[in-house]
């Protein structure tokens, strides 16, 4: 945790790993996906446009 810049007591390491470990691990998988055809999602724009169409 310290290497990642996380400032939490060491005794919480197990709790953090148990509760958030899989999600944190999945972040790099997310960044590795081929998303070349996609722009960032803009809910305020997209939903209103689709409601009007």
């Amino acid at each position: 945790m310290a290497a990642a810049g996380i400032d939490l007591p060491a005794e919480l390491a197990n709790v953090v790993v148990t509760t958030a470990g899989p999600m944190v691990t999945a972040l790099d998988d997310l960044a590795a996906l081929d998303l070349s055809d996609l722009e960032p999602f803009s809910p305020a724009r997209r939903l209103s446009e689709d409601a009007r169409s």
Binding site: V24, F41, L47
Partner: protein, 472 residues
């Protein structure tokens, strides 16, 4: 004359009719509400603060309006407000000891102002998961609201006090916010209905942010009809909230009473079945059968990107919350609970690459759902993959999967924060040990009327919403 205590067992529609028929008065309704809170809230612990004098004054004004014949749609209806909306004269505590000494709000949040303009009587503010940053409702510093159905089990969060207050019949309706399921999860765990409207449908002005692209505002009540009545009053563009939409607001209650004949409901079965408690699966299948018996057709839909829900939600919430709250809370870090500190620290591991990948993948998820919703009118899932877990459970076993409790709880609600689509949770059964189970119905952008009509049709052929917790 309607007996004082009985009035709190009525729906908003019924209270409104009684007020107009003069079989009760607004002051009687509000006094009944305040007496019920005084009697039960020591056990339920739903309320942070109660505005007795202001509520009585508002009720007296409501009675004058009723006598003059110029009552609003919610005149005399008591409402509770999650303690992350500004309520004039009350401290907005955000469920955190770090904020509980803040000065009282000088003005109401936009949604609170709309409730008052419609005649509603704000009786007080309700507890929440600290900073709305978690779906269990467990709050060690300020106290965890009781789940009225299941002692020792979480009420669901983050709108925990709002869910518990409605389920315990302290108020007929309460306001919540929903970033990953925070209206629908407590609704599901507490056996009531909760609506997360479309992104931008209800103003967030005056609400403490958690994650700007995921935050929604909506009501919790016992019946879908009541949600429709309240949504009509709180929906619509607000110049004070640039993200609020300029989309016309229909009269949602008019759409109720429709038959489900011809309504097509899609179920992402593969995603739902992968992580699902067996009792929830049985209740969900029975709910689909009831919807089919009422005239709907049920079909499978494929939404492959749902599999990335946890990573997309985590990347978005952790980074946006870190930005929204980090600076504000840095000076108060020692007064934050450990869970909020963990989440804010975890925000540091989410890079710009992660955040943008999540945002771009949200576009794919939305496109897949749009494709599905071109072929069906609604999507159905269980509201949560499990009924309310025990307080303190960090992981749960669902089928073959051992999964973090937080990730499990948000699995079916989170996708509709990521896409912004309107989503309704409503009760559809109970586990063998008496914990409520919820159904979720999702619609096209700004098609809350369709979602509410289907939920209302389901409540007309079932009685789950009429059951009362054994602890009452």
């Amino acid at each position: 004359m309607t007996a004082a205590a009985e009035v709190l067992d009525l729906s908003i529609a019924e209270v409104r009719a009684a007020l107009r028929a003069r079989t009760t008065t607004a002051i009687q309704v509000v006094e009944a509400c305040l007496a019920r809170i005084a009697e039960r809230d020591a056990r339920v612990h739903a309320f942070v603060g109660v505005q007795r004098d202001a509520a009585r004054a508002a009720a007296r004004e409501a009675d004058i309006a009723l006598a003059r014949g110029n009552a609003g749609p919610l005149t005399g209806i008591p409402v509770a407000v999650k303690d992350l909306f500004a309520v004039r004269g009350m401290t907005c505590g955000n469920g955190s000891a770090a904020c509980s000494d803040d000065p009282p709000a000088a003005a109401d949040a936009g949604v609170v102002a709309r409730l008052r303009a419609a005649g509603a009587v704000v009786v007080g503010t309700t507890h929440l998961h600290e900073l709305a940053f978690g779906p269990t409702g467990v709050n060690p510093a300020l106290g965890t609201p009781a789940n009225p159905w299941a002692e020792g089990h979480v009420p669901g969060g983050s709108s925990s006090g709002s869910g518990a207050a409605v389920a315990a019949r302290l108020v007929p309706v309460a306001l919540g916010s929903d970033t990953g399921g925070s209206i629908r999860v407590p609704a599901s765990f507490c056996g009531i209905a909760g609506l997360k409207p479309t992104y931008g449908r209800v103003s967030r002005a005056g609400m403490s942010p958690l994650a700007w692209t995921l935050d929604h505002v909506g009501p919790l009540a016992r019946t879908v009809e009541d949600l429709a009545i309240v949504l009509r009053e709180i929906a619509g563009h607000d110049p004070a909230d640039p993200s609020s939409a300029r989309v016309p607001v229909p009269d949602y209650a008019v759409a109720l009473g429709r038959s489900l004949a011809g309504t097509r409901i899609g179920v992402p079965r593969r995603f739902c079945a992968a992580v699902l408690d067996t009792e929830v699966a049985t209740a969900f299948d029975a709910a689909l059968a009831a919807l089919a018996d009422a005239g709907a057709t049920i079909a499978d839909v494929g939404v492959p990107t749902l599999e990335h829900t946890s990573a997309m939600l985590g990347a978005t919430i952790l980074s946006e919350a870190g930005s929204a709250l980090g600076r504000l809370l840095a000076a108060r870090r020692d007064r934050l609970g450990i869970e909020a500190r963990i989440y804010l620290e975890l925000g540091k591991v989410v890079t710009a690459r992660h955040y943008l990948a999540a945002s771009r993948l949200r576009t794919r998820l939305y496109d897949e759902m749009s494709t599905a919703l071109a072929n069906v009118d609604l999507i159905a899932t269980p509201a949560t993959p499990l009924a309310a877990p025990r307080i303190g459970e960090l992981t749960v076993r669902l089928g073959d999967a051992e999964i973090g409790t937080v990730e499990a709880i948000c699995r079916f609600s989170g996708p509709f924060n990521l896409t912004g689509l309107p989503a309704l949770a409503l009760p559809c059964g109970f586990t063998g040990d008496g914990r409520p189970i919820g159904l979720q119905l999702v619609g096209r952008p700004f098609a809350e009327a369709d979602v509410l009509a289907a939920g209302d049709a389901y409540q007309r052929v079932t009685d789950w919403h009429r059951r009362r917790p054994p602890s009452l």
